[in-house]
Symmetry: C2
Subunit: 446 residues, 2 copies
């Protein structure tokens, strides 16, 4: 085993499960190990206490005129349940068929440790050509709630020109991928109430609006026959996909077939006029994340439920404003509320969409680094999901994020038997050296 892998294994052995208070000590021990590693590399590392788990920040000696690069990652991991489904113990890393199996192997210890080792190798070549700040938190898996106040409190010290984040995915093994956008999100819940208590569906059925029927009709009204979102004005402010994006995405080897293999869905279904990639990365959606009402147990119970609900979420793309969309959703829900029930719409949380210019100097440097590392031109994608911290970085630090994900489809983050390809770990180390070199060559812009 290489020294790099053996250090990663040490890192992976900490059961740094941030959501479980029984592992509070393990999370701290992991932060201390990381701090020691970074200090040992010649960086100035500090463990910052928060109301929750610590944040580790390490820097080289910053010098006027050099570009300020921040690298972000997280050392906390998801729980391991159901642990009996793991082929090997989640905190005893093991390599099988070229993959490292462990909780956190991909998300995010493997990817973030490739950053660390890339920096270490770059340092071995002498002084870094960038002012580097490594920011590693221990609460990403529980919503990064102490990171935002930390960024606000350390705004000056953390000022940077650009941020590198490896916490996303590659479209396929060996295909270098740079993300330059994320969808936003907004959520709400439809609550339908009808009779004052559950009613016998024989004695009362046929003369009262059934709250479950009502919620089903509201959910069914969200899309038209072309699977477009049927909410008035939903698409009004959507920034159309640019020609270069549609062209670039059409070459990405991610289509119907890959999609079905990955999801297990019987067929791909989505907004008419768009490819799978376009639907996922560049178009907004309306989804129902949960529905419930009446009897859900075994067999039958002939009731008309007094209440039913549906949880809705909407993925947003650049141009769309979460509050405006929630207004439109609420108006739609109310307009589609059947007579004979009371319908309430409860607004939930939101996150803005994110988009940067992949053809900026930073973006070009990142793409060149990916090309050198993987030996082929990277593909440019947006992510379908939302990574709130990327927006927070933009808002508080004013810096864009280069999303240089190394996760491959099937790596099972958050699930049993999470793995990370050894070759991606090694590529990640090289990628980080390349990135520091190329960004350093750009120098300070302002």
């Amino acid at each position: 085993m290489t020294p790099e892998l053996s250090q990663l294994f040490e890192f992976l052995r900490f059961p740094s499960i941030s959501t479980d208070s029984r592992h509070k000590g393990d999370v701290r021990a992991c932060a201390e190990w990381l701090d020691a590693k970074l200090t040992g590399m010649g960086l100035t590392s500090t463990i910052h206490e928060t109301a929750g788990h610590p944040i580790v920040v390490a820097r080289n000696q910053h010098v006027e005129g050099k570009l300020n690069l921040m690298i972000y990652g997280h050392y906390d991991v998801q729980p391991v349940d159901p642990v009996e489904l793991w082929a090997s113990p989640p905190f005893e890393p093991e390599i099988r068929d070229g993959k490292i199996y462990a909780r956190g192997a991909t998300d995010n210890k493997g990817q973030m440790f490739a950053h660390v080792l890339g920096v270490e190798k770059a340092l071995a070549d002498g002084e870094l050509p960038v002012n580097l700040t490594l920011l590693f938190e221990g609460e990403e898996e529980i919503g990064s709630k102490n990171l935002t106040p930390f960024l606000e409190a350390h705004r000056e010290e953390l000022a940077c020109d650009v941020i590198a984040v490896s916490d996303t995915g590659m479209v396929g093994p060996g295909i270098p991928t740079m993300g330059y956008g994320l969808r936003g999100i907004t959520c709400g819940e439809v609550i339908v109430t009808g009779p004052s208590s559950d009613l016998h569906s024989g004695v009362y059925g046929g003369s009262v609006m059934n709250p479950v029927t009502a919620v089903a009709r509201i959910v069914a009204s969200l899309h038209d026959a072309d699977e477009k979102v049927a909410i008035d004005g939903f698409y009004s402010d959507v920034a159309p996909l640019e020609d270069w994006e549609r062209e670039a995405w059409s070459k990405v080897p991610f289509g119907e077939k890959e999609y079905l293999a990955e999801t297990g869905a019987p067929a791909s279904v989505g907004e008419a006029g768009y490819t799978v990639a376009e639907r996922l990365w560049g178009r907004p959606t309306a989804e129902v994340n949960g529905i419930g009402g009446g009897y859900q147990g075994e067999g039958s119970k002939t009731v008309i439920a007094r209440e039913a609900m549906a949880k809705l979420s909407f993925r947003l793309v650049p141009g769309q404003d979460p509050d405006d969309i929630l207004d439109k959703v609420e108006a739609h829900v109310m307009a589609n509320a059947p007579k004979g029930v009371d319908v309430k719409f409860v607004r939930g949380h939101s996150g803005e969409p994110y988009l940067n210019d992949p053809h900026s100097d930073y973006g070009k440097a990142a793409q060149a680094s990916l090309a050198t590392t993987f030996g082929k031109e990277p593909v440019l994608i947006r992510e379908g999901g939302s990574i709130p911290i990327i927006n927070t970085f933009k808002t508080i630090l004013g810096a864009d994020s280069l999303m240089l994900g190394l996760a491959v489809p099937g790596c099972k983050i958050h699930a049993p038997n999470e793995s990370f390809n050894v070759e991606n770990f090694e590529a990640g180390i090289e990628l980080n050296q390349e990135l520091i070199r190329r960004l350093g060559a750009l120098g300070k812009k302002s």
Copy 2:
């Protein structure tokens, strides 16, 4: 307190909860008390063992040429939970404001004991003019599962011309009510499966059919804009309401206002072209009794569920065949299954609708008895619910049932603070004397 009430109180004090095995002894003690009472009245009473709780059968001396009348009731009761909501202990009957409060007060001990005391009074006048069989079971609240084989095994002995049952309701206090029909029922479950596991709604949303959306669309497709059932052929075999029924029901003081007060629903909604009473008693329905899929907990979880389900039931009216309706429902569900998910329809249990002729000699005798007892003409209704045992009597014994319910709206059967109006108990005793007299006068038809 009258001797009649004091005997009813004794009967009500048995916690004869059939579903709870801890009360097995109480159920038996109640049957023995009943048997002793019937024997004491001069009837030949027998406790018949079953695989569950006993059936008590009592008869007078049967004589050739007299009409055979069966009276059916049940001495078992529902559980009392949540017991803390009772204003007085459920098995310590108490009279407040002219109502007897106790579990079983209306359902069915109060109503059935009015039968018993009516028979006792009739016996006091001399030999009964009918061949009487009293059939009281202890398992009605748990599905009467041992009664069907008992009826089959004692078909000859239980042969009768007509059956009287007081286990339904009056449309309002003081309004004598005779039921002559029941809706049937058929059930099924729609199960929708999509991706092989729950998917992240950001990463995958927009390109896969959401099983929750799919089940909502299927449920929403069950009715048209007029709230008619939109299943092809659903109404083909429905026996239309007869003119006399529509006319009679239009005079029943049960409409929009009473309905809303009783259900707490914000408005009455149902099939266009029919009154509330017609929708409830004479028209078939499609209801969804439960729906579920995805995340139903607090807050939000941005998943696309792998599976969703809806439990459907259909109330049927004369002319409709449960199996035929299930075929049509299944065809409709399949025809409305969105692309990109697998939809399965699982057929559930069924019960035939029931209808007798309220203008038969028996029906007329029952109505005359109601009119004499309550001092006004009875209203003729059908019941919206299903009472399977009424169909079983028809099938096995070939006899129709006169449904002479004494329950009033708000009597809270199956719920805390069940009550029975003292005046209905007393009226019930008189009603039974009248019924025996009038049916006796008809004599044996065949």
